[in-house]
């Protein structure tokens, strides 16, 4: 695994601190969406479909920082839309780094080279560019519905690495992905020199009967089990090994929807990054008034039956690491040996 020690330490002390204070529900990563606008229109993306006047709006830096303070999570992920289109992205990132938040700026990297050349960012252990890469050139360009985006992203990655920035990739996989092609993709990303990769299955929701839900989860398990059966030592993943084991069917985790709370123009999104069932005005209101028991697979909520996505289940994996000796032992073993 490739998460730097200082970041691991920050997360470990934060989680243990929450546990010592008896907090059972606490945020781990704030998903901060300063705008919904994007320079791509990927198939199946539910983040960008709003009327023009909404797409032209964005949060102010002050609103973003107030949300960060209110939430208190040690890590801030900035997805979107495309955050490099946010006019205040430079000042926002600078202010977050000054607050020692570990920032993952999630970008399709079309504008990355240009923004780096414009001097918008300074390398820091607190800042990682998390570049959206859905596979090798063919798969990626197909997923983002535009030819040439893979090559642009690679250019951006190279430029960021050349300038000394931390770079990771984030990949969403559907069960039609080819394990062999994905393994080739891992090699290619490692050849480029990225620090680590993040994987998540895509979210799909259908009003399917129980048996189909089960099969869909089984398909996800099969895909990840095949892909990660014999992970090469050189493949680095910037995420909890227990979450990867969950995707492979070796762990059974429930969702922790409050683990990665989402804040955007509309407020604090209930209950998670994917479902939009309403908005709270404050983080406290989100935590206190959301009916958390109505979400996650065990709740029976049909929208949650197929879901194994990272924003709901990685916080569970991290919590598991610090909740039992078994969880801790499994995490350390996977981290040291590289085996999943």
């Amino acid at each position: 695994m490739s998460v730097p020690l200082s970041q691991m330490w920050t997360v470990a002390t934060y989680v243990l601190g929450q546990k010592l204070r008896g907090h059972t529900r606490y945020p781990l990563v704030l998903m901060l969406e300063p705008l919904f606008r994007c320079n791509l229109a990927c198939a199946g993306c539910g983040k960008i479909q709003y009327p023009g006047h909404v797409l032209r709006k964005h949060l102010t830096v002050e609103q973003c920082l107030a949300a960060v303070e209110e939430c208190g999570a040690p890590m801030v992920s900035i997805p979107g839309g495309e955050p490099l289109m946010y006019p205040e992205i430079g000042p926002l990132v600078k202010a977050l780094v000054a607050r020692r938040k570990y920032v993952y700026l999630c970008t399709n990297a079309i504008l990355l080279k240009e923004k780096l050349q414009a001097g918008l960012f300074t390398p820091s252990k607190y800042l990682s560019f998390s570049v959206h890469m859905d596979g090798l050139r063919e798969e990626h360009d197909e997923a983002v519905c535009r030819d040439g985006v893979f090559d642009q992203a690679v250019e951006g990655i190279k430029e960021a690495l050349r300038r000394g920035f931390r770079v990771t990739t984030n990949t969403t996989l559907f069960d039609n992905a080819s394990p062999i092609r994905m393994q080739m993709f891992f090699d290619e990303m490692m050849d480029l020199g990225v620090e680590g990769m993040m994987l998540s299955p895509g979210y799909s929701y259908s009003k399917a009967p129980d048996q189909e839900h089960f099969l869909r989860r089984q398909k996800t398990n099969e895909l990840f089990a095949k892909m990660l059966a014999n992970p090469k030592k050189r493949w680095k993943f910037n995420q909890s090994p227990l979450f990867l084991q969950f995707l492979m069917g070796k762990q059974d985790f429930e969702c922790t929807p409050w683990g990665n709370p989402t804040y955007n123009l509309f407020g604090w999104q209930r209950p998670c990054y994917l479902l939009q069932e309403g908005y709270a005005t404050t983080f406290k209101e989100l935590m206190q008034t959301t009916r958390w028991e109505e979400y996650g697979r065990k709740s029976g909520n049909e929208k949650c039956q197929d879901c194994m996505v990272h924003c709901g289940h990685e916080p569970t994996a991290v919590n598991h690491t610090f909740s039992s000796w078994r969880g801790f032992r499994d995490t350390v073993a996977a981290t040291v040996t590289g085996r999943l």
Partner: protein, 113 residues
């Protein structure tokens, strides 16, 4: 996002509070602007992004097209809601994407394609 028929152009009658709550829910799910008609005859045109039901005075929140917003409107003041803006999600659901991918694959693998 579901793959149901778009509500674009819908102008439902709202005879009672139960219907109002239902129409507000539909407007909340709708990915286009709506026109909210108030009891004083005013019309608010914009994106209805939230509704809060479990409070003493339920309300909706909107980004109006012509104002910075957001604005807040109690349910009790709403007389009608028209689905007047373009549905930006129509045909863009994940299910629609899967269908188009499958169709493209079938076309490219069929003999003579």
């Amino acid at each position: 996002m579901t793959d149901e028929k778009s509500l674009e152009g819908w102008a439902p009658e709202i005879p009672d509070a139960a219907t109002l709550a239902e129409v507000v829910d539909r407007a909340f799910d709708y990915r286009g602007d709506v026109t909210v008609m108030l009891d004083d005859g005013r019309e608010l045109v914009g994106y209805l992004f939230n509704r809060t039901r479990d409070v003493a005075e339920p309300f909706v929140q909107m980004f109006e097209r012509e104002n910075a917003g957001p604005s807040r409107v109690p349910y009790a003041r709403i007389r009608a809601i028209r689905f007047t803006g373009r549905d930006t999600a129509a045909g863009n659901s994940y299910a629609a994407w899967l269908r188009s991918r499958e169709a493209a694959k079938a076309a490219s693998s069929s003999p003579g394609a």
